[in-house]
């Protein structure tokens, strides 16, 4: 396995790299049970977070992961920097390059920005979500979580991903990784939020009845952006919830079948999920958050910045 500089998406990862990251997340997670949760692995290294889109949990997760590896963590404050004055991303990276950073964690609303940054820096670039394109660390933590609950028996299991597939980098990355690990994937979405072209191996549903007949092992809900209403993608939040949300009736079916429930967060209560769904005993939402730190530690541990 040759050293990898960047983590930009799932597609470019080799199978053995995926296994290496997932395998290393386990000892890092074991660390969390100790009173001292820190190891000196990345002492003297610097990680910069560059978030052009607001985020709390992913940003914090990377910061906690880096600090548990003893890296120095710096936040590039996009709001108060010259990028709001129209400085291009490439110009910003030229500036950052002089700071001799080791890791740059980037989130941006445009797809492909991390790829562009990676071509212009010797630092390792980690994609923390770009546009509709990819969110590879989310996919890795989802896979890690599902391996935990299935005791490493993913092949053949079915996962139903529900919601705004069209605008979801989580759906793209997570579905790709889980398929590579042997799971069967289906999408459930209203026609307006379903991409016209999806990979042939992904089953497509437009209603819960058919989707539940498919008998998923796990249901993965996506966050629905309220502003999609304004783009005529669905008429109202109420109608979305009724037709595509995890209503209490549908939740009861999951409960009866002991189906696992996942969500990348943050949730919209009353839209894709209800309070009862949040309290469901087979909800993996908090486990996803905890595993996110371990998986991101494993990613930082795996990547190798180019030498200066």
């Amino acid at each position: 396995m040759s050293p990898r500089k960047d983590l930009l998406d799932i597609a470019s990862l080799q199978d053995e790299e995926i296994e290496f990251i997932l395998a290393n997340a386990t000892p890092f997670k074991d660390l969390f049970k100790r009173s001292v949760k820190k190891v000196p692995t990345l002492k003297g290294r610097t990680m910069l977070t560059l978030f052009y889109e607001p985020s709390t949990r992913t940003l914090s997760s990377f910061e906690v992961a880096a600090s548990r590896l003893s890296a120095d963590v710096t936040r590039f404050d996009v709001d108060s920097s010259s990028v709001v004055k129209g400085e291009s991303v490439v110009d910003t990276i030229d500036t950052l390059e002089a700071m001799r950073l080791d890791y740059i964690v980037v989130r941006h609303k445009q797809s492909g920005i991390p790829n562009l940054i990676a071509q212009n820096t010797r630092a390792s670039v980690i994609n923390a979500g770009d546009g509709w394109h990819a969110h590879p660390t989310q996919a890795l933590l989802d896979a890690f979580t599902l391996r935990e609950v299935t005791h490493n028996e993913l092949p053949g299991k079915r996962i139903l991903i529900v919601g705004d597939i069209q605008h979801s980098r989580v759906a793209r990355s997570t579905s790709l990784l889980l398929r590579r690990l042997g799971m069967q994937v289906a999408y459930l979405a209203p026609g307006t939020l379903m991409p016209r072209d999806t990979p042939a191996e992904i089953t497509r549903f437009d209603n819960w009845t058919d989707a539940l007949d498919w008998n998923p092992h796990t249901v993965y809900l996506l966050r629905v952006q309220m502003e999609r209403q304004a783009d005529s993608l669905f008429p109202s939040v109420g109608e979305y919830h009724r037709l595509f949300g995890l209503t209490d009736t549908r939740l009861q079916i999951l409960r009866d079948r002991k189906t696992w429930l996942m969500h990348p967060g943050p949730v919209n209560r009353g839209v894709e999920i209800t309070d009862a769904g949040m309290n469901y005993d087979r909800s993996l939402i908090n486990q996803q958050v905890e595993n996110g730190i371990a998986v991101r530690m494993a990613v930082l541990y795996t990547l190798r910045p180019n030498p200066a």
Binding site: A11, S88, V89, V90, H108, Q110, S111, G112, I113, N115, L116, D130, G131, W132, H133, A134, R169, R172, P195, R196, D197, T198, P199
Partner: protein
Amino acid sequence: MKRLYRAALIASEYHREPRRADVLVEGDRITGVADSIDPPSDATVIDCAGQILLPSLFDVHVHAREPGREDKETILSCSEAAINGGITGMVLQPNTNPAIDSAAAVQNVLDIAREKSRIWPSVFTTGAITKGRKGEELAGIAGMKGRGVVYLTDDGDSVSNPQVLRRAMEYAKQFDLALASHCEVKELSGKGCMHEGSVSYSLGLQGIPSISEEICIARDIRLAEYIGVHLHIQHVSTALGMNTIRRAKDRGIRVTCEVAPHHLIFNHEHIGNYDTHYKMNPPLRTAADNAALLQGLIDGIFDVIATDHAPHTEFEKNQDFASAPFGITGLETALPSLFHHYIAKGAFGWDLLVKRYANEPRRLIKLPDTEIKEGNLAEFILFDPSRSTTFTPDFMKSKSKNTPFLNQTLQGQVTHVHYRGQDLLSR
């Protein structure tokens, strides 16, 4: 000054294989074409053994960026790029700043072309259909016609309001002016930046659906049929759009159309890792569209080949895919790319190239063709199939280098450009 081009392989619209002959040029005209011509004592003899001699190419879809964005291209640099690619005539598009939408603006751009371009008087311009290309009010059509615009177009944008387009057609018809359409329903394209399909899904980019172009092609053809005006459809990119035009032609509607080399050669898979050198509008479609467009070119559905030469700065193109501007340069790469991908492989012959990229473009704007025969204006090039061309930044004369062929090598090279008594290029 007399020149004898000896033992060249003469390409023509009328025979598939080039035929060996000598060509004598005196002044700005061809004065002899024969199996063997004894060199007059005062003639310069140019040995052309193994080289193709064909009418110089003529491109009806060129963005020279002057006035307004001279940092990207000027009419001078554009004409030098054209010559470098074996092209000695071009039709400029009106999306300059300010737009070419009045008699004064037409006069201005033609004055620059007369003074600066190296291929005067073979630089022509279109005029906008609407003021400022905004799709709202008619531009100064009669005035522009008086200054010599060859047709009208709001290229880069469709006239979205069909009533405005109808009025423009009715008005243009009385001056015998054709209209050219960049066909796109803007509401369907939205903020799309590439073809909507499997690749836009995996790259997470907003798509431009094929129907955006196809619906507008159908609408514009129906309007033109209703009014009875000549309509020219620019840069067709989809098989279905092309077939709509095919059926219209079969019904006898006055519609012509063009295809760009990049829509034949490339498709959305080539975008790879967000390479903005594959971003243009209409976007690259699918491999099935490539095949259908090539067949359409062979079948004669496309009247002309045209590049949609669209220079942009390196800085602008070195952005994320959605933010980078649409368009690639094409004048310098068109002929070698068509030779490399099609002629060298036998997909079509030199006759098709001469017809679709030299003769028909001239006929489209009512110029005589420049077939290699006695009495015609001497506008021809030599192309050496045994050499190759590497498109380094130094090689290319355009001020912008935004081409997918940057630093690539293609088979064949334009070795000589002759324009009405002048050797514009010789290498």
